[in-house]
Amino acid sequence: MTKTVLEVRDLVKTFTVDGLPIHAVDHVNFQVHAGEFVGLVGPSGSGKTTLLAVLAALLTPTSGEVLIDGRALSTMGEKERVRLRRSRIGFTFQSNNLIPFLNAQENVDIMLRLNGYERNGGRNGTVELLSRLGLGDHLHFLPGQMSGGQQQRVAIARAMIHNPALVLADEPTAALDTERAFQVVKTFAALIHERGGGGIMVTHDLRMCRHVDRVLQMRDGRIVAEYNTASQIDSFASSAG
């Protein structure tokens, strides 16, 4: 049986706005297995990013439980959460992804520096990964010298280099044109499958779901639909046009 890298149990995150409770995440349950790439879709304000923030141990849930690699976030103190983010979670963000004064290789290396050089083959692993992502000749380029797609690929390498249990991607294709967006998602999926961690990609662009293994659709903080089979996903993605 495939290992479960993420388990979400009856998760609730409530904000109070003008004295009224808003359930940004409302009794959500799901699991992500090793080597599985999950797409989290839904309209703006459906709770995707809030859910991602809770999964990333950046927000504390109102109730429910999140287990990453079998460890419950609720039992962790702040320092442990920071350590977890550093060692067991990989991130890509919508924008401002890279550190502007570090070149491509250094931006990826930063995760190794945070976790210790001895892991993952050190710098050689970085060069190899960036080369696989087609950035072998851009190792010493600063983010400002690269295109949006190249920057996102560097961010993917950074999210993957330390072999995290879970990779969380917040709208990784938002700033890209369609062709580059497909390339980025395809690369992402291939690396998730190959490296054996779990991956969740938040996107509002349903077409990007063609390369994921499962789609969770959110609305008003709830998961309202789940697409598991290739035909279901293809049909869902095609509905976006």
């Binding site: 950046l58 920071v82 983010r85 991130f91 963000f93 550190i99 570090l102 945070l114």
Partner: protein, 386 residues
């Protein structure tokens, strides 16, 4: 890799990759350093101009006439006081000091000087650095301060003419330079030294003074057998010698008219310059942190601790400040080489070190707010949730 090493890496990388921006701030700090060091040097130079002669006295105590409030110009001692002072236990040597103002008129432009009378080989007469000491009695000889020699182009063997006023008439006296001394400025004027007898003859006097040929010393410089027993000897002096008061050198200097006010003005200038430095550096780093909020958010989201982020900010501030202070110190040194000796700037090792230390602290002090701000940035910023 520990948090500090990571912080150092991040901090130095950013400084290096954005070196133009950081160099600009370092140059601002360098200019502030230049200003602070020059204000300190000016303070020292002005202080020297006022106190140098007194500070270099080979004496520990100064005897004043009672109720003179330790002001040299207000003190006029009876000539017999000197003998009484010399008899007090603990006094190794005592020399009278006579002060007056005069003008050297034989130079291309008249130069005002402090005309000081002192007994050769007694406290009050400075060591001669070149030439020879004065001979006693009515010698018409003079020992001059080296700064005065440089300014006037005079040397040993030359004759200077001084102008004083006696009664209602100008008196012109010729004095031959026999020696040079170092660092003997007094009341912002170079000093020229004559024997008490010559001093009494050539100094400015009122009609009434002219009837009395006895020179009256303003003060007596006292060298002690045991400098550590200054307080006890001062008490003995006051008990055994009538109508006097006694002060140490520091008190005497502090009571030189205008000295304390001038020093506090210069110190206030220095403090304000440092405060401006704190605000400039603080403003720069605060703006920089505000510009980097998303970037710091990402760093925290991927697992950088608050300690790493805070330490990186502090390291950056220290590196930039150190670079600026180093550049400023070098600039100050190079500029000081071009200053003529007549400009009252003097670099004192202790005050330079103190200024550099203060300057090194203004960076972290100014950047403190930005460091706290950086530490408090939520990693959620990376997800644009805040």
């Amino acid at each position: 890799m520990n948090a500090l090493a990571f912080s150092f890496y991040i901090a130095v990388k950013e400084v290096w990759r954005s070196r133009g921006r950081f160099l600009l701030l370092s140059l601002v700090i360098a200019l502030i350093t230049l200003l602070v060091l020059f204000v300190a040097a000016l303070g020292e130079g002005l202080a020297n101009g006022n106190r140098q002669y007194l500070a270099n006295l080979d004496a520990q105590l100064i005897v004043f006439r009672e109720k003179s409030d330790f002001i040299i110009a207000s003190s006029r001692l009876d000539p017999t006081t000197l003998r009484a002072v010399r008899r007090v236990a603990g006094v190794e040597s005592a020399g009278p000091i006579y002060t007056a103002a005069a003008e050297v008129v034989s130079t291309a432009k008249p130069i005002k000087v402090s005309l000081l009378g002192a007994d050769p080989d007694f406290p009050g007469m400075p060591e001669v650095a070149a030439g020879r000491a004065l001979r006693g009695g009515d010698s018409n000889e003079v020992v001059i301060d080296r700064n005065f020699a440089i300014r006037s182009g005079l040397g040993i063997g030359d004759v200077i003419e001084i102008r004083t006023t006696q009664g209602a008439e100008d008196r012109f006296s010729d004095l031959q330079i026999v020696g040079l001394t170092d660092g003997q400025s007094y009341l912002f004027q170079p000093s020229i030294f004559v024997t008490p007898f010559t001093w009494e003859k050539v100094r400015s006097q009122s009609e009434a003074d002219l009837k009395d040929d006895n020179p009256y010393p303003n003060i007596i410089a006292v060298r002690l057998a045991s400098p550590g027993e200054a307080n006890a000897t001062a008490a003995r002096l006051m008990a055994e010698v009538p109508r006097i008061e006694v002060a140490d050198i520091v008190t005497t200097i502090r009571n030189v008219p205008g000295y304390s006010a001038q020093q506090s003005t210069v110190q206030t200038q220095g403090i304000f310059t440092l405060l401006i430095g704190v605000l400039v550096i603080g403003g720069f780093f605060q703006i920089q942190v505000l510009q980097k909020v998303p970037q710091i958010g990402v760093l925290k989201a991927i697992g950088s601790s608050n300690i790493s982020v805070g330490a990186a900010a502090v390291i950056q501030i220290v590196v930039v400040t150190a670079l600026g202070v180093g550049l400023g110190a070098l600039l100050t040194f190079l500029l000081s080489l071009g200053f003529p000796p007549t400009v009252p700037v003097a670099f004192n090792g202790n005050s330079v070190l103190l200024s550099i230390l203060a300057l090194m602290l203004i960076g972290p002090a100014g950047g403190l707010v930005s460091v706290f701000y950086a530490v408090r940035i939520e990693p959620l910023r990376a997800l644009r949730l805040q």
